[in-house]
Every structure is written in C-alpha cells, then in structure tokens.
C-alpha cells in the first residue's frame, strides 16, 4: 500500500498562523500529479521520496542518470548488489522491465526529450521558470553540477519541490534568480510546503494553498506576484 492516504493531512498552523506540509506530505502531494505510465527522473535528496507515495494502480518507471531505467525498491539488508545504485548512490533493485545502459544513452534519454517528468529540488525559482539549483554565491565551495543542467534542458515537464522560504525567512520564489542558473524558462510547476504554483507566461499562478493558509500571508513570503 502507498503511504499517501495516511500522511497528507497538513500539520497544525505554526506561530505565524501558516500551515506547512512536512517533507513526506510534500512528496505525497507531488506524487498525486505523476500520471500512470510516466517515465520519471527523481532528483537526488528529497525528490527521491516521491516514489513511495505514487497512488496504487499507477505504473511509473523511474530513470536514474547513472544507467538504469526501472529503478525498484531498496533491497533488504544483506542483499545489496554493490554495483546496483541510483544517482543518490543508494543501493537499489531493478524492477521488472528494467534496463541498464551507459552514460551517453542515459543522457540521450534526458536531453533527447524521452523522459516525461523530472522532480527536482531548488535554491530558487523565478516567475519566468528559471531555476537555480546547482551553485550558491558562496565561492568557498567548489562548483558541482552533476546532471542538473541536462535534466532541465531536455525533460518534458520539470516539477520543483522545495520549502517556500529559506531558513532565514527570505523568499525562494522570485522575480529573478540571484544564484547561478541551472536552466532558463524550464520549470512548469512548483510545490512548496505552503502552496502549489504554476509557472505561466504571465508569472506564478496559484493552483492551491495548503489548507488553512490564506493568499495574503503566502504572498508576503513570495518574492514575485502570485496570480489567481
């Protein structure tokens, strides 16, 4: 059984009066929008949890950039194959119907428009659909891009799941990104703990608020206009 039925109830309102989804609830919310029969790439980190919440009855095929399509569940302890991992470097299994391939083929799937959906985390998303998720402005850290730029360049639909604001309260949804860009005009929809927003030619458009929140309070935490 999936966990989506039990964990979608939002947490109680915080001190600021806003209701926030937990990471698990956010993953479950994104999973509702993954259609049956999709080929999906889940970004490293929190997006990998989406797979656990896809509603029963849907067959979704997961691609991992390191050379497997048809990623199956984590193997039981002691049964790991040390050479069967996903892009997050976790041990995985091959689901029925899986295939292995090398890097040029893997990135042909991504860049060539064969993958339907990618779910990614982000530092910032702009109202134009620009995304920044590979480098900050802190020059102390060596840059590391991985497959992020290839994914956003080629996958048909880019979904972003992230917190609505940074730890210091500053907005992550902006008119323009201030961090180095991963791709321009590529994001379709953003899922945050506070709301779901579509990226449209006019800017961010509200799809839904996490139940209990009002638009004015969410707009106050957003660095770009939310259209309704």
């Amino acid at each position: 059984m999936t966990q989506s039925q039990t964990q979608t109830k939002p947490q109680a309102a915080g001190a600021d009066g806003l209701t926030r989804l937990s990471d698990a609830q956010l993953a479950a919310r994104v999973a509702q929008d993954i259609p049956d029969g999709s080929y999906v790439n889940l970004g490293i980190g929190k997006p990998t949890h989406v797979a656990g919440y896809v509603p029963e009855g849907r067959e979704v095929i997961y691609h991992s950039e390191n050379g497997i399509i048809g990623v199956g569940p984590t193997p039981p302890e002691g049964e790991e194959d040390l050479e069967l991992i996903d892009a997050s470097k976790r041990y995985v299994t091959a689901a029925p119907g899986a295939a292995y391939f090398d890097h040029p083929d893997s990135f042909a799937m991504m860049r060539g428009g064969h993958i339907d959906i990618a779910v990614l985390g982000a530092y910032q998303v702009a109202e134009s659909g620009d995304i920044a998720n590979w480098a900050t402005l802190d020059e102390k850290f060596p840059p590391a891009v991985g497959g992020a730029m290839d994914l956003v360049a080629g996958v048909k639909t880019i979904l972003v799941m992230m917190r609505h604001v940074n730890k210091d309260g500053s907005p992550k949804l902006l008119e323009r990104c201030t961090y180095p860009l991963t791709g321009l005009g590529v994001v379709s929809r953003v899922y945050t703990d506070l709301a779901v927003l579509d990226v449209t030619p006019e800017g961010f458009r509200l799809v839904e608020l996490t139940p209990g929140n009002d638009l004015e309070a969410v707009q106050a935490l957003t660095g770009a206009k939310i259209l309704t």
Binding site: N66, M110, V145
Partner: protein, 221 residues
C-alpha cells in the same frame, strides 16, 4: 591477438607523468579500484583526471589526490559526501578544476571516440558554464558548442573480458566505462573475470577494438 596481461602493475606501466587519464565509475559503482591502486604504486604524477566524481573517503581517485599526483580534474560532480581529499587540494589551490555538466561530459568523451569535431547542446545554455563558448540559435532554441574530450589513457572496470578485449558489464557499473574506452589512445580494462574462451558476441557491450589491455582483478568494492 592477446590483450591480456598478468598483473595490474604491467597494465599501468605505460602511464607517464603529465598524462591525461579517464577513469570510469559513478559513485562507488564501476570504479577500477585495482588499476588506481596500481597507478598510485607506479608513481606517475602531474596527472589530468577525467571522471564523473573526484573520489570519496580514502579510496579510488581520492588516493591519487591525497598523494598529490593530480594536477587537474575534469568532472561533473567533485563535491560529494566524503570527498575530503578533493576539497583539501582544491582549497589549497593545488588543482585546476573544470566542471562539466554530466551529459555534456559523456557526449564530449563520446565525440572524441566517435570522430566528431564538436556538437551543439541545449544543456547549460544561458548559464555560467556556457560563458565564453560559441552559441547558436536553432528553431528558436539556444545551443552551446561543446568540443570533444580525448585522453591518453582510460582506466575502466568491467565484469568480464576476453583476450580480444571484448567487455561485458554488471548492472549500473557500466556508466562512463564503455565511452571512455572509446575515447582514449590506450584503454586499460580491469575485469572481474577473464573468460577462458571468447565472450558471447551477443553479450559484448564494449567491442574489443576499443580496448588495448585486459587484466583480471576479482575483487568487487
């Protein structure tokens, strides 16, 4: 024709100071750990390492970095949990780093192996990683010109090999290994098992024409 050699030291003997070396693997999977250890013993330095990652912990590429053998790294993702030796060398300004998007890295290597003089990719268009590169608009979409990436040597890891250099792979250990074998002047394959006869042609992933040397190293990470 017999491309087999008896031990790892013989396999890496041709590598010289200042060589450029492609090293297969992604995360902990498909890394030629035996060849890297042999290269460390052999002592070549001032190396350019082309690989997806820049090692983690005290194993693989991290050992070469720790020993100060690496002058330059070309990779997509140098910073991963436990990549302490890369970070130390980078912070000390001791290595030159070129970060390349992963798919562009694979395709640049493939281009070198396939005789392609460069290609246009949408990856990275409009970003910092396209700065200074030629760009072109095709049917309303922006593309970046990327150049082939070749190397003097490739160190690859495969599941099985035969005396003709044919290779087969296991699970996700394939990753960059086949394409790196194509793009290097001298490709050295560490295989878990050398076949007594020939590999089944239907199971060959990397045809032996791309491989110069095969050595058995049975251990898995």
């Amino acid at each position: 024709m017999d491309k087999r050699v008896g031990d790892l030291a013989t396999a890496v003997a041709p590598i010289t100071d200042g060589a450029s070396i492609m090293i297969g693997g992604f995360g902990s999977s498909g890394i030629p750990f035996g060849l890297i250890d042999a290269l460390l013993e052999q002592g070549a330095s001032g190396l350019t390492v082309i690989s997806n990652n820049a090692g983690a912990g005290e194993t693989g590429i991290a050992k070469l970095l720790k020993a100060g053998r690496v002058a330059r790294v070309v990779c997509s993702y140098p910073r991963s949990p436990g990549s302490i030796w890369f970070e130390k060398r980078y912070e000390a300004g001791e290595i030159d780093l070129e970060v390349v998007p992963q798919g562009t890295l694979a395709e640049r290597i493939r281009a070198a192996g396939a005789g392609i003089g460069g290609f246009l990719t949408p990856t990275g268009y409009g970003t910092r990683l396209a700065e200074g590169k030629e760009t072109r608009e095709i049917e309303g979409r922006g593309y970046v010109m990327e150049m082939p990436l070749a190397a003097d040597f490739a160190l690859v890891r495969a599941e099985a090999g035969d005396r003709w250099g044919n290779l087969s792979f296991h699970a996700t250990a394939r990753n960059f290994n086949p394409v790196m074998a194509m793009a290097a002047d001298h490709a050295i394959a560490e295989v878990r098992q050398v076949a007594t006869g020939a590999l089944d042609p239907e199971s060959v992933v990397t045809p032996g024409i791309f491989v110069d040397c095969v050595v058995e190293y049975g251990a898995r990470p």
